[in-house]
């Protein structure tokens, strides 16, 4: 317990020193650790951390990571703004990637990036291939049964992508103007649009979102709507497009951790709280998200 507080203090100082903000509060909130015990059927190998005594020990997972000298993060390598490789620099960049770097520096270790594609990110956690997964992963009931999540580090959601010179601001504007909206075939985004009031006939569904962006540019539809994490990429790749509007669905993104590693979850939550308090979270938002929305950073969504 003592070690944990020392580490959290170190995190506070590290983050505080980086951003030059006023001295952040010395005691980061510790959320109650989730009580799930890893069921043997889920993880092929039961790691020592699943024993009941673990949550009272001084952070065995954290200690192990520090001993290894590196934090292995599963991030996306092809989602702009969150986790992507920049061909010109060769580095892994994005909001998710920088979160990994923040946590790693708080731990005093080097960050290491592994590509997490949607199909393998939970198995990778359960097999201890990665220490954490930060890959635009939505926290939902189904996943909570298999892994643990940190606090919410970003509230993604469905928004609209329109031409910069158009007047539409919200999905309600699109409904009112009775215009064509593009989305992905068979996606939840499509369903959400219909729920938001867009008539079936006004939906232009494509196989991929880059096709949808092309349709928008061609004028075959007046907006594209899906998760903003995808829309940012489209805005980045095509001039003259902007992401607008309130999110009309909620996709809370959390950092995934294997079940039973409560100390790591607590540590990460501590880092997130510090980032929120010190303004570091807002900085990351301005660096990675603001270029596509033109909006200032909202409040960090941590406790949603």
């Amino acid at each position: 317990m003592k070690r944990l507080v020392v580490l959290a203090l170190a995190a506070v100082f590290a983050v505080g020193a980086c951003s030059g903000g006023d001295g952040a509060s010395a005691s980061p909130e510790l959320s109650a650790p989730p009580t799930g015990e890893a069921s043997p059927a889920m993880s092929p190998e039961t790691s020592p951390e699943t024993s009941p005594e673990a949550s009272m020990a001084a952070g065995p997972t954290v200690a192990a990571i520090q001993e290894a000298g590196r934090l292995v993060c599963g991030v996306k390598f092809d989602v702009i703004a969150f986790g992507f490789r920049n061909p010109t620099s060769g580095d892994v960049e994005g909001f998710d990637a920088d979160l990994c770097r923040e946590i790693a520096s708080a731990l005093g270790v080097e960050p290491e990036f592994v590509e997490a594609i949607s199909a393998n990110r939970i198995p990778f956690l359960q097999e201890d291939r990665v220490d954490v997964v930060i890959s635009t992963m939505t926290r939902n009931e189904e996943r909570l049964e298999q892994i643990d999540f940190s606090k919410i580090y970003y509230l993604a959601g469905q928004r609209i992508l329109v031409k910069s010179d158009s007047d539409y601001q919200e999905v309600a504007d699109l409904v009112a103007a009775d215009v064509t909206v593009c989305s992905g075939q068979g996606s939840t985004s499509e369903v959400n649009l219909r729920d938001a009031g867009v008539p079936e006939d006004n939906l232009l569904l494509t196989q991929t979102y880059s096709e949808a962006a092309q349709a928008l540019l061609d004028g075959r539809c007046d907006a594209v709507s899906t998760d903003d994490s995808i829309l940012f990429g489209l805005a980045a790749q095509n001039d003259g497009l902007e992401v607008r509007g309130e999110t009309f669905t909620e996709e809370p993104l959390g950092i995934g951790v294997k079940k039973g590693k409560e100390d790591l979850v607590e540590f990460i939550n501590g880092v997130l709280d510090d980032m929120a308090a010190s303004g570091r979270w807002a900085e990351l938002y301005d660096t990675h998200i603001k270029p596509y929305t033109g909006e200032d950073a909202p409040e960090p969504p941590l406790d949603m």
């Binding site: 889920m42 199909a119 494509t206 196989q207 991929t208 880059s210 096709e211 092309q214």
Partner: protein, 217 residues
């Protein structure tokens, strides 16, 4: 109980298996058509036709099928050429073009294996070029071409698994789907058995055919 996972999801496996069969049979047919045309160009075409056919063969044989499928999936999409968005059709086209390159070489080697004396004799008997090909060369070519084409077909069945990468709901795709949902390794065995069921009889059949044709000589 072992195999329970496969039994519970049998309809998914069956759908995948049938898609694989459909994909393989159709793509092989198209590949043979493409291969025949291209082989004809190679053997009897002028420098231009032969060169184009040659480049087709070299380009599609030496590049990965996966890259080709990704390329076709994008190019054929509604936003571009607007031909199809269905992964199955894309896979069909991609597999046919890819396999066609190998089929071309198989057919070409079959055509070249026929002694030129055969054609010469036919011509000296007064048969025209077309008739010579049709009545003398082709029947013999078919026999010498079957074994290498059999290998091409066997490879095609195995290559069809790559189509899962673009979303075609064939056997590998369905098996991985079941595996992702159930976390059961048996799903992978289901995949293996499905492919072995197709490829093993095929290779046994090819061996038998080869032996029979070899004896006939």
């Amino acid at each position: 109980m072992f195999g329970q996972v496969i039994a519970d999801n049998f309809d998914l496996f069956a759908q995948g298996f049938l898609t694989t069969v459909l994909l393989s049979v159709t793509a092989m047919t198209l590949a043979v058509v493409i291969g025949s045309v291209m082989a004809t160009f190679r053997v009897w075409g002028g420098p231009a036709l032969s060169g184009i056919a040659g480049f087709y063969v070299e380009f599609f044989r030496n590049t990965p099928l996966l890259i080709q499928l990704f390329f076709f999936a994008v190019v054929l999409a509604p936003a571009n050429l607007g031909i199809t968005a269905d992964p199955l059709i894309v896979a069909l086209i991609g597999l046919s073009i890819y396999t066609g390159a190998f089929a071309t070489e198989a057919i070409r080697s079959g055509l070249l294996a026929i002694p030129p004396g055969q054609a010469e004799a036919a011509r000296s008997l007064g048969l025209g070029q077309l008739d010579t090909i049709r009545l003398v060369v082709l029947p013999q070519a078919v026999r010498s071409v079957i074994p290498p084409l059999g290998n091409v077909a066997s490879a095609l069945v195995r290559n069809s698994a790559v189509a899962s990468a673009i979303g075609t709901r064939e056997l590998l795709y369905m098996g991985i789907l079941v595996n992702t949902r159930t976390f059961a390794p048996e799903a992978l065995l289901g995949i293996l058995f499905g492919y072995w069921l197709l490829t093993l009889p095929l290779s046994v059949g090819i061996n038998r055919l080869e032996r029979r044709l070899a004896f006939a000589r």
